[in-house]
């Protein structure tokens, strides 16, 4: 990562009020590189919403040691299992919550090492789990170049300037949160470092006092914003809200767009995947009304095509798999330590697994997910579309069951029997092939998306 070296603010600590300029951040990172181990093939970093964690992260990038940032709230059992599975050479856990056992030993408070495994590929810089949880099997391998190119392209799409400032609302171990940090630093803008959520009044006091201009949201954030009086707040410095991390329901998007417009704030809809470090496309506020439902056009340096099952590109308007090409595409996946030595498998091309189409001007519309296709009694079902057919049951999650679709909902009050009969009829399925389960709470991944794996297991 190269960022401008100047006396402009880079990081502001919401708790202490401390401000780090770019020059001071650079100094901190340089000092930290001399304290950290060298030549580790894999470093696990408990990534907190603190300046210390950000410095650790930047120092690891600087020294070219591949890092997996993880949820600091992860249980010790799960972290140990993860470190074991990928045979991490170094674990940085400043608060020693994970009580790492042999083969790790502590060389420095908070830094745990074991005898180093094989060298990783020289281009490898960052690894992230596809689902946002370390329990899942695969890691995405990203190069320093992919991260830098995407951070800069995001800055262009949002028109980030040095006066811009965003709070670390999203977890920094989550690619969207990390992307906010890196895109702002690349643009010479600044970041308010906070661990608070939009439902806390202190978050908004800090936001207003430090004159933040950007708020980065996932779909669930909009529900919180609405319930906690966000749209009635006086936030003169706020110029833009970004939405990514999954598709926002059209009615909620319309509502958000109208309310934000009234506040004089633009809504940027973004689309991406961890596999693309992570941004692929962005829809600017100026296009939102006319292209409602689109996720915008590819970011600078990227290209999107729609490809059919035969591998041939489709003309505008026709549905197929969204295929992205660009400098930010991952090197590939890894599911064990040995695979960290692999080079560029993807070669700049990513089959997203998302279904969609392009309009004549190249705007992308996402309609579903290839991999969330179920098969019941030999019939193919798009599970995301089935969810879309049940707006009155929202929040709702649909997974493939044993020759049935399992519908999970939290809304006890609605007409469940009626909804069940209706979707069975619409899908052409026997009633018994649609099972409805009421849950107190649909389990969510740290990304805010339903934990389909847990639902499948529990059904």
């Amino acid at each position: 990562m190269r960022y401008p070296s100047s006396n402009a603010p880079a990081l502001l600590d919401a708790t202490s009020g401390q401000v780090l300029t770019y020059a001071q951040l650079d100094e901190r990172v340089t000092r930290r590189t001399s304290e950290l181990p060298r030549d580790a093939g894999l470093v696990v970093l408990a990534m907190e919403q603190t300046i210390e964690s950000i410095v650790d992260f930047l120092a690891l990038l600087e020294t070219g040691q591949p890092v997996v940032p993880t949820d600091p709230h992860l249980s010790a059992v799960r972290l140990n299992a993860f470190a074991e599975r990928y045979a991490a050479d170094v674990v940085i856990d400043r608060r020693n919550r994970w009580r790492l056992a042999w083969p790790y030993s502590s060389s420095d408070p908070g830094i745990f090492e074991r005898s180093y495994g094989p060298r990783s590929h020289p281009d490898l810089a960052l690894l992230l789990s596809t689902s946002g949880s370390t329990g899942s099997s695969k890691l995405v391998r990203l190069s320093a170049n992919a991260i830098a190119k995407n951070a800069s392209a995001v800055g262009v799409s949002l028109d980030l300037r040095p006066a811009d400032r965003a709070p670390t609302l999203l977890p920094l171990h989550y690619i969207y949160g990390l992307s906010v940090l890196l895109s702002h630093l690349t643009a010479g803008a600044s970041v308010l470092v906070t661990g608070r959520s939009v439902i806390e009044p202190e978050f908004w006091t800090d936001f207003a006092t430090s004159e933040c201009t950007i708020l980065n949201a996932v779909p669930y954030t909009f529900h919180m914003l609405r319930r906690t009086g966000f749209y009635e707040r006086e936030l003169p410095s706020l110029r833009a809200v970004t939405q990514a991390g999954g598709q926002l329901r059209p009615d909620l998007m319309k509502d958000a767009e109208q309310r934000l417009t009234n506040m004089g704030t633009g809504l940027y809809v973004m689309y991406g995947q961890t596999e693309a470090a992570p941004r692929i496309a962005c829809l600017a506020p100026v296009d939102l009304r006319e292209r409602f439902g689109s996720v915008g056009r590819p970011l600078q340096g990227g290209e999107v095509s729609i490809v059919g099952k035969d591998g041939i590109a489709k003309p505008p308007g026709e549905m197929g798999e969204v295929v992205y090409s660009g400098p930010n595409v991952m090197l590939g996946y890894a599911d064990c330590r040995d695979q960290l030595a692999l080079g560029d498998v993807n070669q700049g091309r990513l089959f997203t697994g998302d279904l969609g189409y392009l309009d004549a001007e190249g705007f992308i519309y996402i309609t579903g997910r290839l991999k969330r296709i179920g098969k019941v009694f030999g019939m193919r079902l798009n599970l995301d579309e089935v969810e879309g057919m049940l707006p009155d049951l929202d929040p709702v999650a649909v997974v493939q069951g044993n020759d049935c679709v399992d519908v999970f909902t939290e809304s006890e009050g609605s007409d469940l029997a009626g909804a069940r009969m209706r979707i069975a009829a619409e899908l052409g399925l026997p009633l018994a092939a649609v099972k409805v389960h009421i849950m107190d709470r649909i389990p969510l991944l740290p990304t805010g998306k339903p934990d389909y794996m847990a639902l499948t297991r529990g059904a």
């Binding site: 439902i199 529900h223 319930r227 906690t228 006890e412 709470r441």
Partner: protein, 79 residues
């Protein structure tokens, strides 16, 4: 109606243990009570007591004692 019912909602929606230290239970004080869980909790309290909790109160419900105090305003008997 009683504080026990409110506690049941906490147990059901946050997954905190029934034998928890209720007087000390606060938002972000335990792992289970994060911002997403808070919104779930508010929804569950509304359903359980058939009330609509106002914006400011959603924000102010930052601890178990505060939740009890606010629910009283909505006519919920928490004795």
């Amino acid at each position: 109606m009683s504080a026990k019912q409110v506690q049941d909602v906490f147990v059901e929606s946050l997954g905190v243990a029934a034998g928890t230290d209720w007087s000390g239970l606060a938002y972000r004080g335990v792992e289970e009570w994060d911002s997403v869980a808070h919104m779930v909790l508010v929804g569950e309290l509304e359903d359980a007591f058939d009330i609509m909790i106002e914006t400011q109160d959603v924000i102010d419900m930052s601890s178990y004692p505060e939740v009890l105090r606010i629910l009283t305003k909505y006519g919920v008997d928490v004795s």
